[in-house]
Symmetry: C2
Subunit: 232 residues, 2 copies
DNA sequence: GTATCATTCAAACGGTCGTTTGAAACGAGC
DNA sequence: GCTCGTTTCAAACGACCGTTTGAATGATAC
């Protein structure tokens, strides 16, 4: 290996990343020791420090491996819709689909660890640890402004502040939808098969759109008759 | 103190609970050491084991102190609405208000640690640790079935399975709304003052109701003209 | 075969964890 | 004043943590 970085023994690196990803979902970052990770991966304890530099760096690489692609895919989806629209504002459902549909479809791809990773990602939005928060903020810095702008244009009658809040609410609903297998068992006793991520997307997207376009609090709650356009 | 349990030195106990609650929000369970807790509380390290029996027992007591009351309050709110309705099905917004409005108003009560606790609770729905999950399941066992039944009656046209999913989605949106100050900063850069929990409730409730009553996935998306009643 | 590199390995490092211990301090009842 | 049960305290326990080390192993090029 004459290259300065990367392309080190691919087998060991990948096995560590896979084991860490799965264990982080199961037990969280703090509770997952390096001995547990290397044990499951079948590699030596020192391999993590050798290949990644430390536990924090490993955590970041676990995310980077999939999150970078995920966010690029989101932007590609948004680009595609905007090209179609030829300068006209996008429809809310297109924006929601670009941002939330991509990870949901990623979660459906169980073969490539998509489901496991999306559960981890959902957990991590509430992660207290400072460096993880900083890392997420950096990874999303390029994506969020684009989607904010698109939503502002798509919903010109809704105050921008309100849109940001609803964006936040949608993030929460999606995170739980993916991560919260455990929380789900609070409401349903093994009745729902949460294993089918395609069905999950079919259920979640209408909910998100319904929330996004709900009448504003200030508006008359009794106004059951629709204004000419736009539910918001 | 001749009593077998309880009513031990109230000062030390409460100070430990307060310190633990705040620190759990800041750093999570695993990362919060007993030395950190007792240090902030200004009590001896051994006090936790003496008064609570161990770290796990402390965690459970931190929740029990507020969660039991919260769930009772939810049931009281539901009882009140059902008494008013005299046997008729409740309206969705009443059920949503009883379940989600109570914790939101609790979060507004910053003086009594409501805000801190609700942030902790939101975090904990995704908590990996097994004993915490079990504990939450026990605490919610008495509450969830009542609300499920109420929702089934209120939305007879919506398949029960779909209602459970949307209940789950609402849980996620609320949890993030309260817990996710940090996640919120992903979408807005210090623009939103998330300190006002009353405003939060005013924003969240319409979102939840909009999601709950959104058109089902199967139904024609183009059916912009309303059916005679009920958006769902 | 030998030199050179990247990688693996067993062992140990200092530190922090949750918990336990036994003695000291306190307070109410007599 | 003495006793007894409760609470506090400093100190220590063994276990596990993330990280480091230096030697062993493997592969490649000459």
């Amino acid at each position: 290996m004459s290259l300065t970085e990367a392309k080190q023994n691919p087998d060991t690196r990948e096995r560590i990343l896979d084991a860490a990803e799965a264990l982080f979902v199961e037990h969280g970052f703090e509770a997952t020791s390096m001995r547990l990770i290397t044990g499951r991966a079948g590699v030596n304890l020192a391999a993590i420090n050798y290949h990644f530099g430390g536990k924090e760096a490993l955590i970041q690489d676990v995310f980077r491996r999939r999150l970078t692609w995920l966010n690029e895919e989101r932007l590609r989806a948004l680009d595609r819709f905007e090209k179609e629209a030829k300068g006209a504002p996008l429809k809310p459902h297109q924006i929601v689909d670009a941002f939330f549909g991509v990870p949901l479809r990623m979660a459906a791809d169980t073969a490539h660890g998509g489901h496991t990773f999306m559960r981890l990602l959902g957990r991590t939005y509430t992660e207290p640890s400072a460096f993880v928060r900083q890392f997420l903020a950096d990874e999303y810095a390029a994506v969020v402004p684009r989607f904010k702008q698109a939503l502002f244009r798509a919903l010109p009658d809704v105050p921008p502040e309100e849109i940001l809040w609803r964006f936040h609410f949608m993030l929460g609903a999606m995170s739980y939808a993916i991560a919260g297998t455990d929380a789900l068992q609070l409401v349903a006793e093994h009745e729902l098969d949460e294993k089918d991520p395609e069905a999950l997307a079919r259920r979640l997207m209408p909910f998100l759109l319904g929330g996004l376009r709900a009448p504003l609090a200030g508006q008359a709650a009794k106004a059951k008759e629709k204004p000419p356009r736009k539910a918001a």
